[in-house]
């Protein structure tokens, strides 16, 4: 679909970016020490930190990816909402307080606190960099996807804009400004998602009139010509005379009891009506350079059943490996959250363990409430008549446009701050791993406060440039797919080491180091050799891969635990310094 430049969106976007940059400059004086730069001096109020957790965690994948997945495939996207939130239970009940007790600036601090081992610090900082970079790519790709239709700018400009703004935020005031940007973003995201949900319920469902069916449900054919142009239904793509553009889609074909419209619905009634309705779900098939998008009349009950998305069809498969793939994904989501370095460092920004606990509870309530809304947002988009068949990531902003252009502008700007908040957290985590951990290993001494900040700022700049380059290079990759990589690597490399270092007295430094390295290497190898990567990255048939299923967690997480236990039992424990 060709989008016109939305000047309201540009104005609101500029206002929000201006506000975040002003906030960063205003708060810069609070980040002159290493404690201030990396951990906001532990002075963030637990409530602010809790909402900032939401701002940190609810990434482009959560907002744009999940809403888009539900809008096109129904309940499958909601499985991600469930898994992403469940992971916070691990963070609250197992990790939060011990981590706060032992750490200072980085994830490696907590692991290393009882051992003072260069090997642990090195492996943990490498793992932090790998996970952060994997997580950064989809955020940057998401930024480009968002800016392209809004501003009519090329993808690379959007990616560069996000990179530049984030580097400016982080270099000016480190964790202090990052926290308030994330607080702002978390609050705005939940608020506007609630507004959209109320509007969806108030609008209810309306059946597509019989007279419009033939036109609105006709196939749409997109063809790439040899000279790189796009043709839609046989004509050049465009909005002028003799040109054609794709139609927005998302129709209700029948409601229960033969009604044509429901009027406003309650939150439960919304699902009760939908499950007994008939919806037009859009699918595609590609033959050579031609892709045909076609409507499939589908019962609402089927939409609310898992197993429609290609990556989750294994739930209904007879093959046991397909089912294990799904279990493995849900395991990685459950174990991955509490092992994401950019989430873990937020425990150092509050004053004590009680504040760490309380802020996690606020985070869970905020994130959980948002995830409940995702099902309304996705299904609302599915029936909004506003979807772009070629781009599921635009479902939430286009849903907003079905209500008003102002709301579209606001939601797009909020989606953009979503990317800013998450990327800022990732850049801080990565720069901390370099300035606080890696430099100490290679120079053989801890840097002074001022040196540490200078190195962190230079690292933030370098990480920002790398993120921009990768965001441009991976433009065509699926956003949710890349986030899945980050969760699997984090869950395999970091969680076993963290849990055992905190709770198992017999763990040794070599056991922990081996666990991180084995978890990271095995999950990465598994991912790179999996059928999904064969198809999505190498362009090869999935059956050429000899890996039985694509999600590594169910193998690599236990492998990492077993490695830690085995190596620890085979090595002599040095004196631990338990706090």
């Amino acid at each position: 679909v060709i989008y016109e430049v939305n000047y309201t969106a540009v104005a609101i976007f500029s206002l929000i970016v201006g506000l975040t940059l002003w906030l960063s400059v205003f708060l810069a004086k609070n980040a002159r020490s290493a404690a201030g730069f990396f951990a906001a001096s532990g002075g963030i109020h637990w409530f602010v930190n809790g909402v900032a957790f939401a701002g940190d965690y609810l990434s482009a994948a959560s907002f744009l990816g999940i809403c888009g997945m539900i809008a096109f495939y129904g309940y499958d996207g909601f499985l991600y909402s469930i898994g992403y939130l469940a992971g916070w239970i691990v963070a609250l009940l197992v990790i939060a307080e011990p981590l706060k007790r032992r750490g200072k600036y980085t994830f490696a601090d907590a692991l290393d606190s009882a051992f003072q081992s260069k090997a642990i610090r090195f492996s943990a900082s490498i793992s932090t960099l790998v996970v952060s970079v994997f997580y950064l790519i989809p955020q940057m790709v998401g930024a480009g996807v968002l800016v392209q239709p809004l501003f009519g700018l090329p993808h690379w400009v959007g990616v560069t804009m996000v990179g530049a703004v984030v580097v400016a935020i982080v270099m000016t005031a480190g964790m202090v400004s990052t926290t308030y940007v994330q607080f702002l973003k978390g609050g705005l995201l939940v608020l506007f998602s609630l507004v959209l949900t109320v509007l969806i319920l108030n609008r209810g469902f309306t059946v597509l009139p019989e007279a419009e069916r033939a036109r609105r449900l006709a196939d749409q054919v997109v063809e790439k010509t040899s000279d790189g142009r796009t043709r839609v239904n046989g004509l050049p793509q465009g909005t002028g005379a003799g040109e054609n553009d794709l139609r927005p889609v998302g129709e209700v074909l029948a409601l229960p009891d033969g009604r044509t419209s429901t009027g406003p619905l309650g939150p439960w009634e919304f699902f009760r009506v939908l499950q007994d309705s008939e919806i037009a779900v859009w699918r595609s098939k590609t033959e050579g350079s031609k892709t045909t998008y076609f409507a499939v009349p589908t019962l609402g009950r089927e939409v609310l059943r898992p197993g429609n998305h290609p990556s989750l069809q294994g739930i209904r498969s007879e093959k046991w490996t397909d089912r294990i793939n799904f279990v493995s994904l849900m395991l990685a989501l459950f174990c991955g959250t509490a092992a994401l370095p950019h989430i873990l460092i937020r425990y150092y920004t509050v004053k004590d363990q009680a504040s760490a606990r309380k802020s996690t509870i606020v985070g869970i309530a905020t994130i959980g409430f948002f995830y409940l809304l995702t099902l309304y947002l996705g299904l609302g988009a599915m029936t909004s008549g506003a979807l772009d068949v070629t781009d599921s990531n635009m479902a939430a902003p286009l849903l907003a446009r079905s209500f008003s252009n102002w709301l579209f502008a606001l939601i797009s700007a909020v989606a953009f701050t979503t990317v800013l908040g998450t990327v800022s957290g990732l850049v801080i985590a990565a720069s901390g791993a370099v300035a606080h951990d890696l430099i100490q290993i290679f120079t053989g001494r801890a840097l002074e406060d001022r040196q540490k900040i200078v190195v962190a700022k230079i690292s933030a700049l370098i990480v920002g440039v790398i993120a921009i380059a990768l965001g441009i290079a991976f433009q065509k990759m699926n956003v949710n797919y890349l986030v899945g990589w980050a969760f699997s690597v984090a869950a395999s490399a970091n969680l076993p080491a963290l849990v055992m270092a905190l709770f198992w007295q017999r763990a040794t430094r070599w056991g922990i180091t081996a666990s991180i390295l084995v978890g990271m290497a095995s999950s990465l190898t598994w991912i790179l050799l999996s059928g999904e990567t064969y198809v999505n990255v190498y362009g090869l048939p999935a059956d050429q891969s000899w890996i039985p299923f694509s999600q590594p967690g169910i193998v690599t997480i236990p492998l990492s635990f077993v490695t830690l236990i085995g190596v620890s039992l085979l090595t002599v424990p040095r004196d631990r310094v338990d706090l």
């Binding site: 499985l79 009940l93 307080e97 606190s113 499950q275 609310l304 739930i315 799904f326």
Partner: protein, 115 residues
């Protein structure tokens, strides 16, 4: 090595252990329910189409239930946790006059104290 702003706060080991026990119990309860949900998804998918509560299909009830349960578990944990920070002991003989007041003794802190 310096370990953060709270490194000098003395903690009550009994309260820390108690909170940890509670956390682990709640974790296993939630993890068991989460695993049961995954098992239903892969082994008894048809169960998700049926309606047990309020005329809604179970997929919606179970999904919302897991999210709401996570929030409830978090609040239960928050309310049931004891404070682990021990009150600061002030020696009435050596402390400056303006800090002298009722002397607190070290001991297990009660629920909510010091937070």
């Amino acid at each position: 090595m310096d370990h953060g702003v709270n490194q000098h706060q003395a903690e009550d080991p009994a309260a820390v252990a108690g909170n940890q026990r509670l956390g682990i119990w709640l974790f296993f309860i939630y993890a068991a329910i989460y695993l049961a949900y995954i098992a239903v998804c892969v082994l008894w998918t048809d169960l998700l189409d049926q309606q047990l509560i309020g005329g809604l299909v179970n997929s919606v009830v179970f999904g919302f239930g897991l999210i709401v349960l996570a929030i409830v578990v978090a609040f239960i944990y928050g309310l049931a946790c004891r404070s682990t920070i021990l009150p600061v002991v002030i020696d009435p003989h050596t402390a400056p006059a303006e800090t002298r007041g009722p002397v607190e003794t070290r001991g297990p802190a009660g629920p909510g104290a010091g937070e």
